[in-house]
């Protein structure tokens, strides 16, 4: 009986339960267990192993296709690896190479500019959009659907359409010309000054609906009595927004800030389709550069090293965001 309990404990109890308490040796533990068994219990309490068994397939898949490649990537980042030949250990060479790689720093700088354009847009603008579609109006659902549609449309399709909008003979130039705002057509995607903002605007537009829905859920969760009370105290619309809605939406801001930040650092598809990183690397993002190194030049070692740096940047940004938004706690 004693033996059975010990085995059960070692296998199925979580580590924090199975660890011995200070001062207690294994014998006293067994005694405790023995005492337990002598208690008048209708049935012995067993830990069911079935849930773990059902979790196993998912865990195996996660491990095989997620964790294993991640750990391998960490190893490859210290090697020179070209897929077909075995990797060769080069220590920190890939990381020191990054310091001198102009293109790497350009892509970091570009990601920062994407961040500056996209994140404030996606944190603020969808809030106003959400307030608009939070009205009790006939047909408001239709507007919500219209604003949300770009989110569920494939980025590849959207990017191709926007490429035509930005074409020198495209709609945007035609409209600007029609309004008398410009004389000569601008080649938005082939101008080093305009290409990056052009892609950033597309990215913001496409995700707007997604953030709108998050804000909408947040707005609808704000207790109505708070708003009522403020109104009774004579607060106007702006005051209600500033003193009731915004503090209550703090956790939502934390979510949108983290998600939009991660999104901008990971920008890939729109750039790949619209500019390929050009003109002259002015739209090159770090993920696209990693892709080019890995799958065009097959420089896997260097690509995985940059992947590690990207991961580190994402971790730092998430932690900073979390800290700034005070762990996403609402202010009551």
């Amino acid at each position: 009986m004693i033996q059975r309990w010990t085995v059960a404990e070692n296998i199925f109890l979580p580590p924090y339960l199975s660890s011995r308490r200070k001062g207690a040796d294994s014998l006293s533990m067994i005694t405790v267990l023995r005492k337990k068994t002598t208690l008048p219990q209708p049935k012995k309490k067993k830990i069911s192993w079935m849930p773990y068994l059902f979790l196993l397939p998912a865990m195996v898949l996660f491990f095989t296709f997620d964790y294993l490649p991640t750990f391998s990537a960490f190893y490859y980042s210290f090697t020179e690896y070209h897929v077909l030949a075995p990797p060769e250990w080069v220590g920190l060479e890939n990381y020191s190479r990054m310091l001198e790689d102009e293109k790497f720093w350009t892509s970091i700088q570009n990601s920062l500019i994407y961040f500056i354009i996209v994140v404030p847009t996606l944190v603020t603008f969808p809030l106003f959009l959400a307030m608009l579609v939070n009205q009790k109006l006939r047909g408001i659902h239709l507007f919500r659907v219209i604003y949300y549609l770009p989110v569920i449309t494939s980025m590849v399709a959207v990017a191709i359409v926007w490429k035509y909008l930005y074409h020198p003979a495209g709609l945007l130039n035609a409209v600007l010309h029609g309004l008398g705002l410009q004389q000569e057509a601008v080649n938005w995607l082939l101008n080093t000054e305009t290409a990056l903002p052009a892609v950033a605007i597309l990215e913001s537009w496409k995700s707007m609906g997604f953030y709108m829905v998050i804000y909408l859920a947040g707005l609808q969760a704000v207790p109505h009595d708070l708003v009522e009370a403020a109104k009774m105290d004579g607060a106007g619309r702006l005051r209600v927004l500033w003193h009731i809605y915004l503090p209550q939406l703090r956790p939502i801001f934390a979510v949108t800030l983290v998600l939009s930040t991660l999104g901008t650092v990971q920008m890939f598809t729109s750039i790949y389709i619209m500019t390929g990183g050009g003109p002259l690397d002015s739209t090159m993002s770090l993920p696209l550069y990693i892709y080019q190194k890995a799958f065009v030049e097959l420089d896997m070692g260097y690509a995985t090293a940059m992947g590690m740096v990207l991961w580190l940047i994402l971790m730092i940004l998430t932690l900073v965001n979390f800290k700034i938004s005070r762990g996403g706690q609402a202010v009551g």
């Binding site: 074409h167 020198p168 082939l190 097959l298």
Partner: protein
């Protein structure tokens, strides 16, 4: 009892779920139990337009060789090398692969291709045009069987736009200088139309007789005053609208102003095979096009950057059979049949001796294209340098050229930067 049954069922389900991905990953054994050999055969982008031709050839081959089955896989153009490398690293490799010379240079740097001369013997490679065989010969071994290629470039004119710009379609540009002068006139008369998308590629340097590498092939030499002067003509043309603004995109399939959207009026060097696309996608423009000889530089040569080939990966289980099938697909007769479907150029000398090429008759635009290509073929060279990381080096050069065209760097600065990068890489080889 019921509980126990539930557990057993749960266990079975879990095991099944675990097995599913494994079953999904299992490789389908290619060879049948009756001894039939299955060869996996990859082509680049041919299924859509040439399915009947390729499938017909496969069926005929299978009939002649009862022990062999061909499994045909068509791969998008931009993906073939990536897909092949993935296949090679997984071990589940195709046997005969249609690659380009650019792809071969990548594969060769990993020694992953069977030397074709070892598989079939050099005498079987005699029917192929020497220059093309040379371009795939590395360290004395022929690594691939040349198949078709775009042929010498042709020139194209939109006759209607030419006339509107006050130019005579019967007096096409013969040199780069003329091409740019005409382009400037076109853009001046028709502000929404530009000249062409011809930019100073390495192939254009060859046409001018300007060397790329030193004679010992150890250094890059394309930053001499002659090179700079030649590229500066293109930069000026870009400013004048003789070269379209969209010519600086990275991917030449993404040009903004093209002959088929009528935003360019001519092409100095065009691929004749594109005519099929224009005919299909822009029939009204197609009727306005006129084929003319390609412009030529001082050296009179015309160069192509890529040819289509067949390779046999080293991990193929049936390399000899695979090579035999590649010989069949590239035989003079098979290539002649293919050339009749689309304006391409064969790799076998015998095909070129056929009346289809020697007495090119007919008055369709494709016949004209064939006549122009045949006339230019003695001046054709293939720009394959046989360097490690050749594609990366060529792309670096192009990116510097784009910077010069866009006015971000002077031509001298751009060419110096490219030469420095090339020499750093060449020193490692």
């Amino acid at each position: 009892m019921r509980r126990k049954r539930g557990r057993v069922l749960g266990l079975l389900l879990s095991v099944l779920m675990l097995m599913l991905p494994v079953i999904g990953c299992s490789t389908n054994s290619a060879d049948q139990k009756d001894g039939t050999i299955e060869l996996e055969f990859w082509t680049i982008n041919l299924k859509k337009n040439f399915s009947d031709y390729i499938q017909g050839a496969i069926d005929a081959y299978e009939k002649e060789h009862p022990g062999i089955k061909i499994k045909w896989v068509d791969v998008p153009g931009a993906d073939v090398t990536k897909k092949l490398l993935t296949a090679l690293s997984s071990g589940d490799v195709p046997d005969v692969v249609n690659e380009t010379s650019a792809g071969l240079s990548v594969l060769q740097s990993y020694q992953s291709v069977y030397p074709m001369s070892d598989l079939v013997g050099k005498e079987k490679l005699e029917p192929y045009i020497d220059g093309l065989v040379q371009s795939v010969t590395i360290d004395g071994k022929v690594m691939a069987i040349p198949w078709y290629h775009g042929g010498p470039p042709i020139g194209l004119i939109n006759a209607e736009l030419y006339e509107k710009a006050g130019l005579d379609p019967n007096q096409p540009a013969k040199t780069w200088e003329e091409l740019f002068a005409y382009g400037k006139q076109i853009h001046a008369k028709l502000p929404n139309v530009y000249g062409s998308n011809d930019i100073p590629t390495l192939e254009s340097l060859i046409s001018e007789g300007l060397p790329i590498l030193s004679e010992d092939r150890k250094t890059a030499v394309f930053n001499s005053p002659e090179h700079v002067a030649f590229v500066e003509k293109f930069v000026q043309a870009y400013k004048d609208g003789a070269i379209a603004p969209g010519a600086v995109v990275k991917d030449d399939r993404q040009y903004q102003q093209t002959i088929d959207n009528q935003m360019t009026a001519h092409v100095g060097w065009a691929q004749a095979a594109q005519l099929n696309n224009y005919e299909k996608n822009a029939p009204t423009v197609f009727n306005k096009l006129k084929v003319v000889p390609p412009v030529s530089g001082k050296a009179g040569q015309v160069a192509v950057k890529d040819i289509q080939l067949f390779i046999v990966p080293k991990k193929s289980k049936h390399p000899k059979e695979a090579a035999d099938f590649a010989l069949y697909m590239t035989s003079a007769q098979k290539q002649l049949e293919f050339c009749k479907l689309v304006p391409i150029f064969p790799s076998t000398e015998e095909t070129l001796k056929d009346p289809f090429f020697t007495n090119a008759e007919g008055n369709t635009i494709k016949d004209e294209a064939r006549k122009v290509m045949v006339a230019a073929s003695p001046r054709l060279t293939v720009n394959i340098l046989g360097l490690e990381k050749e594609q990366e080096l060529k792309e670096f050069y192009m990116e510097e050229i784009r910077a010069a065209l866009m006015g971000k760097k002077s031509v001298k600065e751009a060419l110096d930067a490219a030469v420095k990068h090339w020499n750093d890489q060449l020193a490692k080889q």
